[in-house]
């Protein structure tokens, strides 16, 4: 097969490309330039599209012995991922940009172009497995990235290749070293690649400007009362505890958490940890990796990249998916994706629009 290997400059994608080449495929490496003004060097583990990363990717391609090119997807990435990220936060939701990048960039823009140019598949260094056209969790539970690939359709998966899905991360690093790849000891990248300093609130503040408002506590029978001020509701995420800077301690003396973010009223609602429990949620715009599940199917739901999956039942109605959880999940924010699993297999995903707990927490 002719395989296009997306090479970020990290260890995983380098080993993935090497394995694809070793398996006898005709592999071409491509580094995706996603920033219009890339930084020269990576600082720490953040960011992934610096000139240094492009050089690391090129060097790895040299060692593997495959052709290498840089594709400029900066404009597409800005429009599809960065702007969406800002708009979602502005609307009080918590988006997952990595997931969106996989859906809209790597396995859409890049895949489409690759197929048109005569390639048969796009290989990446993601930890997930493809078996008989279905997407499964990786063998390495700690590294499993099937969640961020949960938005891929069966068509997209059919043209994807994840050579690392059956491996442990430690083994991949050792293999990189054995193969003479200089990136063997390079730190993993995490966080949001287009916010290299990791200051999401600061990034959003620069993009959205100040929008001060009140932080209120739902005091039950006592009603709501103001406990603090904020500079912009977009800086807060459901489930957040740190950085609230509340003047008064809670009546019960226990920590308070963000329960709700309402940009329209510029209000952040806080409350006790118990009130974060979610036992049912609704997802919109579902995407299925294969046939949609039968009504009431017993599945498992996962709402963050490395969170636990809890047993659930899912029902489709009017293009929405209603999920009832067998055990509560905490800190589930609208905008996050719920990925549904049938044991190890990814069934599909949807964007969370509404959540509810065992007892209604808001009037």
């Amino acid at each position: 097969m002719r395989v296009l290997a997306a090479m970020s400059g990290g260890v995983d994608s380098a080993v993935a490309a090497a394995r694809a080449a070793e398996a006898g495929h005709d592999v071409t490496g491509v580094h995706l330039a996603l920033s219009a003004a890339p930084a020269s060097y990576r600082s720490g583990a953040r960011g992934c599209c610096t000139l240094e990363d492009a050089r690391d990717a090129r060097r790895a391609a040299d060692v593997i012995g495959i052709p290498f090119y840089v594709w400029d997807l900066a404009e597409r990435f800005r429009a599809e991922v960065v702007e969406d990220f800002v708009a979602e936060y502005a609307a009080g939701r918590t988006p997952n940009p990595c997931m969106r990048c996989n859906e809209r960039i790597k396995f859409s823009a890049v895949l489409d172009r690759a197929l048109a140019l005569g390639f048969d598949a796009v290989a990446t260094g993601h930890y997930a497995r493809i078996v008989d056209g279905a997407l499964y969790r990786a063998a390495d539970e700690a590294k499993d990235q099937s969640y961020v690939l949960g938005g891929l359709t069966a068509e997209q998966v059919a043209n994807a290749m994840f050579p690392l899905g059956g491996s442990q991360k430690v083994a991949v690093r050792a293999e990189a070293s054995r193969r003479g790849l200089q990136v063997a000891a390079k730190p993993d990248s995490h966080d949001v690649c287009f916010i290299p300093d990791g200051d999401t609130a600061g990034f959003l503040a620069r993009r959205l400007g100040a929008a001060p408002g009140e932080i209120v506590e739902d005091g039950g029978v006592l009603g709501e009362h103001v406990v603090g001020q904020h500079e912009g509701a977009y800086g807060y995420t459901v489930g957040q505890r740190r950085g609230l800077r509340l003047g008064r301690p809670a009546a019960d003396g226990r920590p308070r958490f963000v329960l709700d973010v309402s940009p329209a009223t510029r209000t952040i609602t806080v409350g006790p940890r118990d009130a974060l429990a979610v036992t049912a949620l609704t997802g919109i715009a579902p995407r299925w990796c294969g046939p949609p599940p039968p009504p009431g199917a017993a599945l498992a739901a996962q709402v963050r990249a490395h969170g636990e999956a809890v047993p659930c039942r899912a029902v489709l109605a009017d293009g929405e998916v209603h999920v009832s959880l067998a055990a509560p999940l905490r800190a589930v924010a609208p905008g996050q994706a719920v990925v549904l699993y049938d044991r190890e297999r990814v069934v599909g995903s949807a964007t969370i629009s509404v959540t509810s707990g065992p007892k209604e927490r808001r009037a």
């Binding site: 071409t28 489409d112 172009r113 140019l117």
Partner: protein, 394 residues
């Protein structure tokens, strides 16, 4: 492998390789006073005379540098600083917008960090500088102008600039002119003294010599402030121990390239005409960029530059590379990201045309078979790139 990227790098001439190899066992520093040093110095000076003779300059006008980029930086910044030092009002640089980045970015740096003012000289649709544009700029700014910089021939589309005419104009207003002639040596008849230019950039690796050595031909009497300070080895304008072997290879290559230039230009011009005619036959909507007459006075003999509507230049390049055909989109940034050609944009092309271009450049080893291979491949490659054209950019 079919190599059609001689404007980027061309194989060394065997005579240059031999001359360098013969020199490698010697190690004297040409600045040393003892016998080893004197021997090295003699080789350097003989090479300087060879380069001077080949290009119509005096030996004292040849300043060896580390290559074209350094020569361009030295000429643009050095002439600017010297002229400004003599008259603080002279802060304006007149340059064409189709210059190589070594000139372009030097000019932009001077504007950002040294208070230079820029007038970009207008070009026509072929990328040729309009003498009337220079005249108008000089009319307006003669007293404030530090220098004019216009390349001898464009590295992307091959357009030959009317350097003699522009130089005469600049001199009429008392302004020196620098010309980057990197692409022209060995392809066009060049005469430094006859052209009247005050400074000319040349480099070895475009004419069959080694990479990493070049020269700035700097007319006697032209003041130039150094970029590199140190031992003052080259006329006190350039410091650094000279690369004797590289200079030997450069001199031999320059001498050969100039001697063979008339025959080579004619042969490559014929091959190129064949390439253009047959390519348009296979891809009828391909747009030839640069001078369409292919006249030897107006276009480099080995240059063919096309836009392929609906295609991305980097997709074409990749598909040709996969078939063993090597060419270029013309310009690339440090990360290897293809940018729309600034030359085509300056010549009035829209962004799509500037993004869909490929340069095929012939050189001394090119043979008719190279053109045959390209013509056979280009049809299917363009067809496939066109299908991919919008994929990924929607």
């Amino acid at each position: 492998m079919t190599y059609l990227d001689h404007a980027a790098a061309t194989p060394m001439l065997p005579s240059a390789v031999e001359a360098m190899a013969a020199h490698f066992p010697y190690f004297g520093n040409p600045s040393s006073l003892h016998a080893s040093g004197r021997r090295a110095r003699r080789v350097v000076e003989e090479s300087r005379e060879t380069v001077a003779r080949a290009l119509g300059a005096r030996p004292g006008e040849v300043i060896f540098t580390g290559g074209g980029t350094e020569s361009d930086n030295l000429a643009v910044k050095g002439l600017f600083w010297a002229r400004r030092a003599a008259d603080p009002l002279r802060r304006r640089i007149l340059a064409s917008a189709v210059e190589h980045h070594a000139v372009l970015d030097s000019v932009l740096w001077l504007a950002e960090d040294e208070g230079a003012e820029i007038t970009w000289l207008p070009v026509d649709a072929t990328g040729r500088v309009l003498p009337d544009g220079l005249r108008a700029a000089l009319e307006e700014h003669a007293e404030q102008t530090a220098l004019v910089s216009v390349q001898w021939a464009n590295n992307e589309v091959g357009t030959v600039q009317p350097v003699a005419e522009l130089t005469e104009l600049a001199h009429a207003y008392g302004v020196p002119l620098h010309s980057d002639a990197v692409q022209a040596v060995g392809m066009l008849a060049l005469d430094f003294a006859g052209s009247g230019v005050d400074a000319m950039t040349i480099t070895a690796h475009k004419l069959g010599g080694p990479v990493g050595v070049g020269a700035l031909l700097l007319a006697r009497g032209a003041d130039c402030v150094p970029l590199l300070h140190g031992g003052g080895q080259e006329r006190d304008v350039r410091s650094g121990t000279l690369d004797v072997a590289g200079i030997v290879g450069f001199a031999v290559a320059a001498e050969t390239a100039v001697k063979e230039q008339p025959e080579r230009a004619e042969r490559l011009s014929g091959l190129r005409a064949d390439l253009v005619r047959r390519l348009v036959g296979v891809v009828p909507d391909a747009l030839l960029n640069g001078d369409p007459t292919l006249h030897p006075d107006r276009r480099l003999p080995g240059n063919a530059h096309f836009s392929f509507p609906g295609c991305e230049g980097d997709a074409l390049l990749m598909l040709l590379d996969a078939r063993g055909i090597e060419c270029s989109t013309g310009s690339a940034c440090s990360a290897g990201v293809a940018r729309p050609s600034h030359v085509l944009l300056a010549a009035g092309a829209d962004e799509d045309r500037a993004r869909s271009s490929l340069r095929f450049s012939l050189g001394h080893p090119s043979v008719p078979g190279d053109v045959d291979v390209l013509i056979e491949a280009i049809g299917p490659v363009v067809e496939r790139a066109r299908r991919a054209g919008t994929a990924g950019r929607r």
